[in-house]
């Protein structure tokens, strides 16, 4: 499924969506950046509450399909700017991380 379709299905907040047709193949949840780079897979949706611009760098290096900020977290200005520059899809939800992961899992079944 594409990031755009996932975003629509889960009614996610769109902070920036420069690469809407990117395919999502799985998901990963975590807030320790190196842990995410070690464990998340290519084209995964990443659920996190971290909102500084290093999040965009991690998503870029690890070839993640999108970042979903959970728990109502919003990106800081620098993250929003860098995500746009580096073609990183940045979405959000008010749902707690666990609920968001469940919903993501349902969509990817």
């Amino acid at each position: 499924m594409t990031v755009k379709a996932l975003s629509d299905a889960l009614s996610l907040t769109v902070f920036t969506l420069p690469d809407p047709d990117r395919a999502v193949s799985g998901g990963y949840s975590g807030d320790l950046l190196s842990w995410v780079m070690g464990r998340a897979g290519e084209n995964h949706a990443w659920l996190t509450i971290m909102s500084n611009q290093n999040v965009a760098a991690v998503a870029l290096m690890a070839d993640l399909a999108c970042v979903i900020l959970t728990e109502g977290v919003t990106p800081d200005e620098d993250l929003l700017r860098r995500a746009g520059e580096q073609m990183i899809n940045l979405l959000g939800t008010a749902s707690p991380t666990f609920e968001a992961a469940l919903a993501l899992g349902e969509q990817l079944k």
Binding site: L32, G38, E42, M50, A57, M61
Partner: protein, 141 residues
């Protein structure tokens, strides 16, 4: 293809800005048409190296060589050195300070990730003099 040599300075000033050198390298490797998997692994290795340099060594320099069948990333700093490399290689061991941790770093996964994603990892370090981390990644034909 001749060996391509790239040099990227790593600014030690600001952890928030870290990743510039890795981003540039990633773009160059994409332009060279290398396989996505090796680009991904090289990018993560270099970004981890960059983060370590900013946190621990006030920056340094990354040299990247792209040959026919191998990428070599050599990251050189004149920081404090690593007193116990075996300990530093353990997942979860970190000497990063509170500022790095607040940003999501300092999980003690940097060097383990380099080992995970590089085909070869060599660390030359001397306390008080600095560290050279060399990573080699094979390019699948």
């Amino acid at each position: 293809m001749e060996t391509i040599k790239l040099v990227y300075p790593v600014d030690g000033g600001d952890l928030i800005e870290a990743g510039e050198a890795s981003s540039k390298m990633k773009l160059t490797l994409k332009r060279l048409g290398l396989p996505p998997d090796v680009i991904r692994r090289a990018s993560i290795c270099m970004y981890e190296g960059e983060i370590n340099m900013v946190i621990h060594a006030d920056g340094g320099e990354a040299q990247v060589e792209v040959g026919m069948d191998e990428i070599t990333i050599r990251m050189t700093d004149t920081g404090p050195g690593i007193p116990d490399v075996d300990q530093a290689m353990k997942e979860g061991f970190s000497t990063a300070g509170p500022t790095a941790r607040e940003l999501g770093f300092g999980a003690g996964m940097g060097l383990p990730n380099m080992k995970r994603y590089a085909d070869e990892l060599a660390i030359e370090t001397e306390v008080g003099r600095g560290t050279v981390v060399t990573m080699k990644l094979k390019i699948p034909s």
